[in-house]
Amino acid sequence: MRRFLLTALTAALAVSATPAGAQGVPAPRPIPPGEPPVTVTATRNEPTPLEFTADKLSRLKVPAGFTLKVMATGLGNARMMHVMPDGGIYLTRRAQGDVYYLKDVNGDGQFEATERRRVAQNMSLAHGLDVRDGKLYVVGEKTIWVMDMAKDGSLSVPRVFADGFPDAGQHPARTLGWGPDGYLYATFGATNNDSPTQNPEEATLLRLSPDGKSREVYSRGLRHTIGFGWHPVTGVLYGWDQGSDWHGDNIPPEELNVLERGKNYGWPFCYGDKNPDPYVNVSGIPGKITKAEYCAGTTGSVLNHTAHAAAIAMDFYTGSQFPAAYRNSAFVAFRGSWNRNEPSGYEIGHVTFDANNKPTGVTPFVSGFVYQDGDVWKQFGRVAGVAQYTDGSLLFTDDQSGVLYRVLYTGGK
């Protein structure tokens, strides 16, 4: 046997073997670390729902100079909208599993019965939608469908574009959007509230190849990110995530995240700025490391909002009808809490951005859907879809009473 030594390694091999980033990899433990007990006070407070009636409109507040109008009622479980350049609107109705097409043909600002029709059906939990190259894409429970669009708004029979997505479980509001890179992005929430998921496509933002036949996990640790979109100036991808239930009135906050490829946003173990959530069992963490060690490897939010407000849709405003300060900021629908002593959400929020196009905060834009009547909390609107109309006004839906609202800027007129 010849002597065998590898001492004559090249200079390149002699370079330090430890690149940045690999240092400080937590050591997997032989057994989970355990944590001391914690007690939580949580409240179920589902405000008494009231059907929309016109007399309740006076309860709604919008900023000075803005006017609120109702374009349609009786639309059923009106969820997400996509506005076409000609003013036609595709509207998903999750409970009905279909798509409506609305077009204000006579220009009276109303969608009368003759101006609304069902153009696709039999799509379980149809929710998010987007348009590209003359085709409408809709995501439902476990499927993304594609339909050819006709000029009159009609759709072909849906074809399966991609399939085999995870069970919806507790969070069946899926959304999708074509990214500036030509890939289709779609979110799939967690089946559960606050424990690790079995299917690694759960609690993620997925990115699909343009033909729908291949996909990757783009971001993970997202319990239920529904409203997402790319900033019109910076192209940065933002998404609102709904935090866990039953962890009290203020933990975890709702999060606005900058969604980047390959990043983990912490759910179920961490919230906000990589804070360990004390109300989640530690034993399910991969590698049996501590929650603090795990959270250190995740990505924090860029903005937090009142817990349980339940952000559901977000739309960047690119129109010119509203004052200039609104341009390239975002509107977000907070569908409203059921797990907070004092209800949060039940409003359209305005996500403000600074001169550098960085988000700075959330202020109420349309509020008043929830109120206290004596000692009883009541609400008359679960806001859902948000979209910019062709004239630069803002549309949003209430999926409880099937109302389509429109906010116009009338200040200075």
Binding site: M1, R2, R3, F4, L5, L6, T7, A8, L9, T10, A12, L13, A14, V15, S16, A17, T18, P19, A20, G21, A22, V25, P26, A27, P28, R29, P30, I31, P33, G34, G164, Y183, P200, E201, T204, L206, R207, L208, S209, K213, S214, R215, E216, V217, Y218, R220, R261, G262, P286, G287, I289
Partner: protein, 475 residues
């Protein structure tokens, strides 16, 4: 109780070597069949928990066994339990029994290559007791203990190899029976067993669940790709700087695990998807291009793949007797092995696959039988090249030389191939600086890179982090 105890230890205490019996193979241990490196020696500096060196151990390969000499000082007089521990880390770590960080807890539990899950005497076969169970260290009145002994329960190479593991001296005597450590108490001296006069370069990985299985090298970019068998994450490693970035997150359909990896002529990365039954193709920037599914039943296990010059990709399936073929992004059954000499049995069958540069021949190793097969791509004729490569996983063909990562054996085998790759001779079994379940190999210039997959720890036990790939001079 059917218990086989074989005397397999030559034991000396207090420096006086006393041969108890002839060396006999320990139960569960398998002999190395191929030549091993000459002058295989190692050293461990025995440290106290404060990090001070308080002794030394030396190791020398003797046949299939190993001669060990230990000196440790500053200990209480009397007998001290002594064992090889699983991991090469003399750092504080969690003792699971008390769920607390203890000195040298980072070394893990006793080295147990036979999977005995049992603490026993230094003479028990490895299937019945930890391979790391050693004779006690007898410490004299001066606080210094010295032992010299020879064992074949452990070795410096092969399945029982202790390179880059640790030698531990405990506070109390070892009763040679109580689990997990013979009631030998606290860990007082620890040394990592390092091979003498031997250097490799490690590429550490950033995750705690990386379990790197596949490796491929893109020479144009200078990038090494490796993927996780546990979660499918694929990393890109700059071969010169070692900087690591996430190339493709695992977890999507067909991508929840990543086994064999290859880079094709267009710089695309091909991924064998193991039990997902999927073959994934990623663009040079990591974006998903295609996910090709094989039928879901019976259970798939796509283990490795190889592109050939005609644009084909051949894929091994370790549980279904078929070789798959991809052409124009379509997957088909190419060769039904039922009609060939390759007979599938329990466990992992065909695993690593390589092709001759002209694409005329495929070579694939059958892990459970240790047979190496040659398949003619034109005629589909199958010929057995050689046997003896049990636990053969990834292959690397370099001219007429074949390198085989022998995962559970912790070595890389070098095989000389005859004309037309039709015969083979085992030339060397190389443990490098100690390998933890090496699964696959890639050539990087004049060097090679091997994954240290630790896949045995996927089924239980605690892996050592950071996970790593190891680069070494071609031998």
């Amino acid at each position: 109780m059917m218990r086989q105890v074989k005397k397999n230890l030559a034991l000396g205490l207090g420096g006086a070597a006393l041969l108890l019996s002839g060396l006999v193979l320990a139960g569960g241990a398998e002999p190395m069949t191929g030549p091993m490196p000459a002058n295989l020696k190692a050293t461990a500096a025995m440290r106290d928990p404060a990090g001070q060196v308080r002794g030394e151990a030396s190791f020398e390969q003797v046949g299939l066994g190993m001669r060990v000499t230990v000196t440790a000082s500053g200990l209480t007089p009397g007998m001290h339990g002594m064992h090889f521990h699983d991991l090469g880390r003399c750092t504080p770590g969690v003792d699971a029994a008390v769920n607390k960080v203890v000195p040298f807890g980072g070394a893990g539990g006793h080295f147990d290559p036979g999977g005995s899950k049992n603490h026993d005497s230094p003479t028990a076969g490895n299937r019945y007791g930890h391979g790391g169970d050693l004779p006690m260290l007898n410490v004299g009145a001066d606080g210094t203990g010295t032992a010299t002994f020879t064992t074949d329960k452990s070795s410096l190479t092969g399945k029982n190899g202790v390179l880059n593991r640790s030698l531990m001296v405990h506070a109390d005597m070892d009763d040679y029976k109580s689990d997990p450590s013979g009631k030998s108490g606290a860990r007082e001296r620890c040394g990592v067993i390092l091979r003498n006069d031997f250097t490799v370069r490690d590429y550490p990985l950033p995750g705690i669940q990386d379990f790197p299985e596949g490796v491929a090298y893109d020479a144009k970019k200078g990038v090494i790709y490796t993927g996780s068998a546990a979660n499918g994450n694929i990393y890109a490693i700059n071969a010169s700087t070692g900087a690591t970035s996430l190339f493709s997150e695992g977890g999507a359909l067909g991508r929840s695990t990543a086994l064999g990896l290859k880079v094709d002529a267009q710089g695309r990365v091909w991924v064998a998807g193991g039990a997902t039954g999927a073959i994934s193709i990623l663009s040079p920037d990591g974006a998903p291009i295609a996910t090709l599914m094989t039928p879901p039943s019976p259970s798939p296990y796509l283990n490795d793949l190889i592109p050939t010059p005609d644009g084909s990709v051949y894929v091994t399936d370790s549980t279904r007797p078929v070789i798959w073929h991809v052409r124009d992004m379509k997957v088909e059954r190419w060769l039904d092995l039922g009609g060939t000499p390759i007979k599938y049995g329990p466990g992992i069958n065909l695993n690593g696959i390589v092709a001759s540069p002209d694409g005329k021949y495929l070579l694939s190793v059958q892990l459970n039988t240790g047979d190496l097969w040659r398949i003619d791509t034109a005629t589909k004729a199958v010929k057995k090249v050689m046997g003896g490569l049990t636990n053969g996983d990834g292959l690397l063909l370099d001219g007429q030389t074949l390198y085989v990562a022998r995962n559970a054996d912790g070595v890389i085998s070098k095989v000389g191939l005859g004309a037309d790759y039709g015969s083979g001779t085992l030339l060397m079994e190389e443990p490098l600086a100690g390998l933890r379940f090496p699964t696959t190999l890639a050539k990087v210039g004049a060097d090679m890179v091997v994954t240290q997959g630790q896949l045995d720890k996927l089924q239980g036990g605690t892996p050592e982090t950071p996970f790593k790939l190891t680069r070494f001079k071609t031998f």
